[in-house]
């Protein structure tokens, strides 16, 4: 008799424990669900109150972004590249005619999803306005003259400066903030910083390479400090031979010979001549046969996308420093590059993989 009562008590006890655990788990789940709903509510409230946003652009203007921009126009290639890099590409409805990266851009331009709104210094405010954009991003140095016209047309304009690597990071931050792509922006920035750090580490033990960077021939235009190219050269372990001067300036053959560059890089996005032509021009300059750069065949002529890489301060700066690092210090990256570089992606992949 006593054993039967004990068995029933055990079974009832087990049953009760099960019920209690289920009840506890259910209530816990319920609790968590409540918390989750509360959090979601908070998030949507936050999202709703993210805008309006007040930002200060590169021209010192305070701009109000009242809601998430859904139609964006970019006035310069570097800006376009940033927009696509942070994932805001689907919001882009208009770009300048020189924007050509990433590759999807050409298809989008073709099927009319993205409209061309003029050149960089020849931007067409009317075309921009016709697209009814919520946001227009322009370059502060080259396009500031269009601000009054664009504002007159009732558009929201933000101007960004793209002169240095620091500018690029700042711009990514600003643009990702404005388009509420903060995470993506942070990720891009981190990748860029990592890339630059990696390159710096590889090249810092090596002595800086003396490099002459030319952006035009006949006459020869070189770059000094305060230029994007010089920035890149510094990061990639080089020293621009004319970095005591600032900006862009004409140099004559004698100055080049005195400067004794060991590497010459010609970036000919603008100059419409073939790379062979440019190389033979360089070789024909008086005194150049004596240069180490010519004797050791360390002359690199960059055209097409490779030239864009070095001339556009945008999110591809990572690729740019890798490519330039390999040009300046091939021994650190174990990849040898040809004299004429146009499509660079395969090289950069090789370089990054080591």
């Amino acid at each position: 008799m006593k054993e039967k009562k004990l068995l029933i008590a055990l079974i009832v006890g087990l049953f009760l424990i099960n019920v209690a655990s289920v009840a506890y788990t259910t209530s816990r789940i319920h609790n968590l669900q409540n918390k989750y709903t509360a959090l979601e509510r908070k998030l949507s409230v936050m999202r709703e109150s993210y805008y309006p946003l007040l930002v200060k652009d590169a021209l010192g203007r305070v701009v109000t972004i009242s809601s998430e921009p859904m139609r964006i126009v970019s006035g310069a290639p570097s800006i376009t590249e940033i927009l696509f890099a942070i994932g805001a590409g689907e919001k882009v409805v208009g770009v300048d005619k020189y924007s050509d990266y990433p590759k999807e851009l050409s298809a989008l331009k073709e099927n009319g999803k993205i409209v061309t709104v003029g050149g960089v210094t020849t931007l067409e405010p009317e075309r921009v306005a016709a697209l009814r954009p919520d946001l227009v991003l322009i370059d502060a140095s080259l396009q500031s003259k269009f601000v009054p016209a664009l504002e007159e047309l009732g558009l929201t304009v933000i101007a960004v400066e793209s002169k240095s690597v620091a500018d690029i990071l700042k711009n990514i931050q600003l643009i990702s903030k404005v388009t509420s792509k903060l995470e993506e922006g942070a990720e891009v920035i981190e990748n860029l910083n990592n890339a630059m750090r990696e390159v710096s580490q590889k090249v810092s033990p090596l002595p800086p390479a003396r490099v002459l960077y030319l952006c035009w021939l006949e006459p020869m235009w070189a770059v000094g400090k305060d230029t994007y190219a010089d920035n890149l050269i510094r990061i990639a372990g080089g020293e621009g031979v004319f970095s005591d001067r600032s900006g862009w300036f004409v140099v004559n053959p004698e100055e080049v010979v005195s400067a004794r560059p060991s590497i010459i890089v010609v970036s000919s996005m603008a100059l419409p001549k073939s790379p062979e032509e440019l190389l033979s021009y360089l070789k024909s300059q008086p005194g150049f046969e004596q240069l180490d750069a010519i004797k050791d065949n360390r002359v690199y002529i960059l055209t097409g996308q490779a030239a864009n890489l070095l001339e556009r301060p945008g999110p591809r700066v990572a690729d740019a420093v890798f490519l330039l690092g390999c040009i300046l210090h091939p021994e650190a990256f174990h990849v040898s590059l040809p004299n004429f570089i146009s499509e660079y992606t395969c090289y950069v992949e090789k370089i990054r993989c080591g």
Partner: protein, 337 residues
């Protein structure tokens, strides 16, 4: 009058000698100027007993052709300026009044922008452009039958048209505008022996021919009517002189870009300081032009210049204008009629 006549010949000889000596001196000094530091003894060494191949290369293959080109261009511009001022009987004329500069600029720009053309094609296109512009002005002026003034107007019209087309091209190809403009401004930074070898044999005979006609140019100052009655084929001479001087100017600016001021002012300096007789104005004006341009280019190349390779025409104007203003102030009545 006999005394004056004899003195005249002496004066010309004296001035010629003085200017030639100054020019030779300037040439020698120019070889010592440049951003690659070389002492005078090193330069002599480089010329005659070369030890350092870099020095030899720089002095022989860069400085020497550059100084030669600069002085030759200055000479051509000075002589042509005097000729054109006489032919158009207009003291405000310069060698580019016939549209040569704008035509050459347009030609050069087209060559720079056409991808299939090599860089050494640029001077040839510039030259062709300059000559075509002059031809067009001549044809226009002939149809209008308006004499020298008509020709000036035609030249201005053609020049303006070429400039307009040039401006359109520059705005269409705004990325290349900077580079193209720097070519147009006029500089000797890209001088090579190849350029000298082309410019010299073409421009020197032309300029020498112009010089031999200095006496007849004096007669052309009286106008075609009076000049023909004095025994020269005025019409033919006028066209010939114009063609030859435009040719010489075109050759020079095709290789060094458009350098202003020298062609306009050098002849006037001679007129104000010496005589209006073309036998003085042409040779002395040429030498003055050569001297001024050479010294200006020296300044551009000199290490004391903090700005680097600025357009040499700007320097020429900056040093020339104050001096010219002074001359005008002191002796300007010679211009008053």
């Amino acid at each position: 009058m006999w005394i004056d006549w004899k003195r005249k010949r002496l004066r010309l000889a004296v001035y010629l000698t003085l200017l030639s000596l100054s020019l030779s001196l300037a040439l020698m000094i120019s070889l010592m100027i440049g951003s690659y530091a070389l002492s005078p003894s090193q330069i002599l060494e480089a010329l005659f007993h070369p030890k350092d191949p870099v020095a030899r290369n720089i002095v022989l293959n860069y400085r020497l052709p550059r100084t030669l080109l600069a002085s030759l261009t200055g000479f051509v511009l000075g002589v042509s300026g005097g000729v054109i001022q006489t032919l158009t009987r207009n003291p405000l004329a310069d060698p580019y009044i016939t549209g040569t500069a704008s035509g050459a600029a347009l030609g050069a720009t087209i060559a720079l922008l056409t991808p299939s053309l090599p860089l050494f094609a640029v001077p040839f296109f510039a030259f062709a452009g300059g000559l075509l512009a002059v031809l067009l002005s001549l044809v226009l002026a002939k149809k209008a039958r308006a004499g020298p003034i008509g020709f000036i107007l035609a030249g201005i019209a053609v020049g303006t048209f070429c400039s307009a087309v040039l401006m359109i091209l520059l705005s269409l190809f705004s990325q290349q505008a900077h580079g193209i403009l720097s070519w147009l401004y006029g500089s000797f930074s890209t001088s090579t022996w190849t350029k000298v070898k082309i410019v010299m044999p073409l421009s020197i005979p032309a300029v020498l021919y112009l010089l031999t006609k200095a006496r007849d140019l004096n007669l052309l100052l009286l106008g075609e009517e009076h000049a023909s009655q004095l025994g020269i084929e005025a019409g033919r001479l006028w066209k010939f002189m114009l063609a030859i001087s435009s040719f010489a100017v075109s050759v020079c600016i095709s290789f060094s870009g458009i350098i202003g001021f020298v062609g306009l002012v050098a002849p006037h300096m001679v007129r104000l300081m010496v005589s209006s007789d073309n036998r003085f104005v042409l040779p002395l004006g040429g030498l003055t032009g050569a001297l001024v341009l050479l010294l200006s280019d020296d300044l551009v190349r000199s290490p004391v210049n903090p700005f680097g390779e600025i357009p040499v025409g700007a320097v020429t104007s900056m040093i020339g204008v104050p001096f010219f203003a002074y001359l005008l102030w002191k002796r300007g009545e010679k211009f008053g009629m």
